[in-house]
Symmetry: C2
Subunit: 250 residues, 2 copies
């Protein structure tokens, strides 16, 4: 059995940002929800894994925004697995307007960790043997390590964030979208007011937890792109690396 | 014409909190969205008012939680105006499970301000003359000034928050639910882990804006209730007052 998940979302007021566009964190939440549902259909949902002592971890996510929907617009989020490898499963997302226009798309890479060992493990057989849907047209495989991961990082700004109750999920980990919210909040006012996010490429390096103290850093790369880094303290670790690209708002 | 708004929401993963229950901010967002839609049906939506140089302001909100829905549950949010007065319009909310059980309810009071004068005005005629739906059973009218507004407030804790881009709406004001998120994040860990919110009574005193610096204060009242205050700086003003009541989690 193969499954292509298709969910319909009508944009609610609080899912738009101050510019009136669908906010990127809201869209990423939709995608995350559709991925959950698709995993449940495949029998590899969070609780299917938890019963067997495993958990999912998002490792890479790259979102490209083509056009932003607005309040009241109805969009479709489609998602499906594209490649299953020894350690990694790849998943694509497409976000469509009602006329079929592609508003956004995304690629992602997931790994499985053992709850006991607290370490990454090869994909268990019940995941390994799943069949990707026929007839899909996968986006290019996302590199596990993007080029910017090796760039020198000279932060010009840093904000401190303490992980609050509303940013953690039932596994007591910070949810993947919360980091993106913090990245947004670290960007300067003019950029937020005059530009819109065209692309964000994320590397999730390690987890963080309730009450952790995080340092959200930012380093301009080009006129249109910014590098981001989130560090935890005690012990100091890289939690997230990212590159965002921006285009002039329409 | 009268309108009772009924919206159906199926709880998504990111709308639950670390306990697996629907988060209170997510529920308040649903309610806000249903209120918007009901106002649009009545011809008194945000843009109907904006065209005429007016805006809505939430003044009071009191939410009572009876039972928390969980991931995948489908709930109905109903809302309708209950009383229309010279300065204030009252609106009730009911949140129902699929079997009709009341999961939560809320009362609210709204006022209208003039965009030019930046001041409260009597409800314009096109709002004043609306008819509340027949056959509704309004909750008791919410007092404009709750008893705790006159209590002395001795904060035992204070957190500082800077208003970020994702907390403001298209009017460039902090959205009503963001304050409740900040209140939650100021509450101590044991309370959050062992209790659930039974009731929250909110007084919105003045607006705040992007990049404002806010002080989120907390004063225990009884074993089961907490008083909250949010102050802005420069100029120092009371932005929000609240009382929350907590019961042991089931």
């Amino acid at each position: 059995m193969t499954f292509i998940q298709t969910d319909t979302f009508t944009i609610r007021g609080y899912e738009t940002d101050a510019s009136g566009r669908l906010s990127v964190p809201a869209l990423m939440n939709f995608m995350q929800e559709s991925a959950n549902r698709n995993a449940i259909a495949y029998g590899i949902g969070i609780s299917d894994l938890a019963e067997r002592g495993f958990g999912w971890m998002l490792m890479r996510f790259r979102l490209r925004m083509h056009r932003y929907p607005r309040y009241g617009d109805t969009i479709q989020v489609m998602t499906y697995p594209t490649f299953v490898e020894k350690y990694f499963i790849h998943r694509d997302f497409k976000v469509l307007a009602q006329d079929g226009t592609v508003l956004a798309d995304a690629m992602s890479v997931w790994l499985v960790f053992s709850t006991n060992k607290r370490a990454m493990v090869p994909l268990p057989d019940f995941i390994r043997e799943l069949t990707v849907p026929p007839g899909i047209d996968p986006l290019p495989k996302l590199p596990l390590k993007p080029d910017f991961q090796n760039s020198t990082f000279q932060p010009i700004d840093e904000k401190q964030v303490t992980v609050g109750w509303l940013s953690i999920d039932q596994n007591q980990h910070v949810n993947n979208v919360a980091y993106v919210q913090w990245l947004f909040e670290s960007i300067d006012d003019t950029m937020l007011q005059t530009r819109e996010l065209a692309e964000i490429d994320l590397v999730y390096r390690t987890e963080s937890h309730w009450n952790d103290s995080l340092r959200v850093q930012l380093a301009p790369e080009t006129e249109d792109s910014i590098l981001h880094r989130i560090l935890s303290e005690n012990p100091q670790k890289e939690v997230l690396l990212a590159r965002s690209r921006w285009k002039t708002s329409l």
